[in-house]
């Protein structure tokens, strides 16, 4: 049926929680693309048929005309759905670059798995563009937009961060559940990735 698969594809964006990625649905995407080509073939053959019958395609309003029209509209609809799917995911990927980290390997594994190959490339290029802009401006745009009251904060490590991490030229041992007093800008990337939490009061 015209556009039914594409509808399912678009609905995938709205299932699950808002603004979060679902695994990239390669299979369905290919099926919709296939439907597009089928629509195009039917459209072409109908136009050819009308031309063979010597009818003017611009003015004739017969069954073949409407058949071609419906295939044309379905093709446009499918394309629109495909674009919507890819576009909405690209928005989330940009959000990941800004909010979580500039490096793909810094993302949690379960997120990385949900990206398709070209989406990973998009991530890398977007972060490269952002990075080159920030280095030109000499400005870090990834930090919290509200100025902190205190440049240092107290944090607790929530997960295994890994050893040998150097913050502000000091090596620190971030064992799980240990507490640290860190420079806010050093801690922020770990907090946004959910590896540390800020302690207050």
């Amino acid at each position: 049926m015209h556009g039914r698969l594409a509808c399912r594809l678009v609905k995938e964006i709205t299932t699950g929680e808002k603004g979060q990625l679902q695994p990239f649905n390669d299979e369905l995407l290919n099926e919709v693309t296939k439907e597009c080509s089928e629509n195009f073939l039917v459209l072409q053959s109908l136009i050819r048929k009308m031309q063979d019958e010597g009818l003017d395609f611009q003015t004739t309003r017969n069954a073949d005309h409407y058949g071609a029209l419906i295939n044309h509209l379905s093709l446009i609809r499918n394309k629109r759905c495909l674009m919507a799917y890819v576009y909405n995911r690209a928005e989330i990927i940009q959000n990941l670059v800004w909010k979580v980290g500039l490096r793909l390997f810094e993302l949690p594994e379960e997120i990385q798995e949900k990206l398709s190959h070209s989406e990973k490339e998009y991530f890398n290029r977007h972060s490269a563009a952002l990075e080159s802009y920030m280095s030109k401006m000499d400005l870090d745009l990834n930090v919290d937009m509200v100025p902190p009251k205190d440049p240092y904060i107290k944090v607790r490590v929530l997960d295994d961060v890994g050893e040998g991490i150097v913050v502000s030229d000091k090596a620190a041992n971030f064992a799980r559940h240990s507490m640290h007093f860190l420079k806010r800008t050093d801690a922020e990337p770990y907090i946004s990735r959910g590896l540390m939490e800020e302690l207050t009061g």
């Binding site: 073949d64 058949g67 029209l69 419906i70 979580v100 946004s192 990735r193 939490e197 800020e198 207050t200």
Partner: protein, 164 residues
């Protein structure tokens, strides 16, 4: 507006072979385009029929609009000029006015267990309103109590339970 089907009289052919004067259900995106090309005429969709209207007049807040059409208002706004029914607009407005207050009140008062039942009758638009109301209240409470401002990025989703 993905799945909303409406009944139309159609005269198109091609692969589907529909007779002139036949009634078929088409998705809105297709019906709209065909209507603009004067290939079809559109009937008022079932979700705006007299039965629904009577139910709304009786008790708007408890009508299950989601099962009738998950985008009741948006769809109504789009379909109204096509079917030439001037009463749809008024009906949508009065329905929304009656339900709006109820949604906002419930967003702040209803306990979670009760809410899940109440949420099933809301359209997508109303669910968004409900969530916005709850979010603003939660943000206000957080602001009043204080606490860490900077937190795990919401784009990552909820934290998994750590595997011990």
């Amino acid at each position: 507006m993905f799945n909303d089907c409406i009944i139309i009289y159609s005269i198109f052919g091609g692969c589907s072979q529909v007779e002139e004067g036949a009634k078929v259900e088409l998705p809105f995106w297709l019906a709209q385009e065909l209507y603009l090309r004067q290939a079809v005429s559109i009937n008022v969709p079932a979700c705006f029929n007299q039965k629904t209207r009577r139910e709304i007049q009786a008790d708007a807040a408890n009508v299950d609009l989601r099962s009738r059409c998950p985008y009741f208002y948006e769809f109504g706004c789009k379909i109204a000029p096509l079917v030439g029914d001037r009463t749809i607009g008024k009906m949508l407005l009065s329905t929304f006015q009656m339900r709006y207050k109820d949604i906002l009140t419930k967003a702040h008062t209803v306990a979670y267990a009760m809410a899940s039942k109440f949420l099933t009758v809301l359209t997508k638009e109303e669910t968004n309103l409900y969530e916005a109301a709850q979010l603003s209240m939660a943000t206000f409470k957080k602001w009043r109590i204080g606490g860490p401002r900077f937190q795990r990025a919401s784009v990552l989703g909820r934290k998994r339970k750590p595997i011990e």
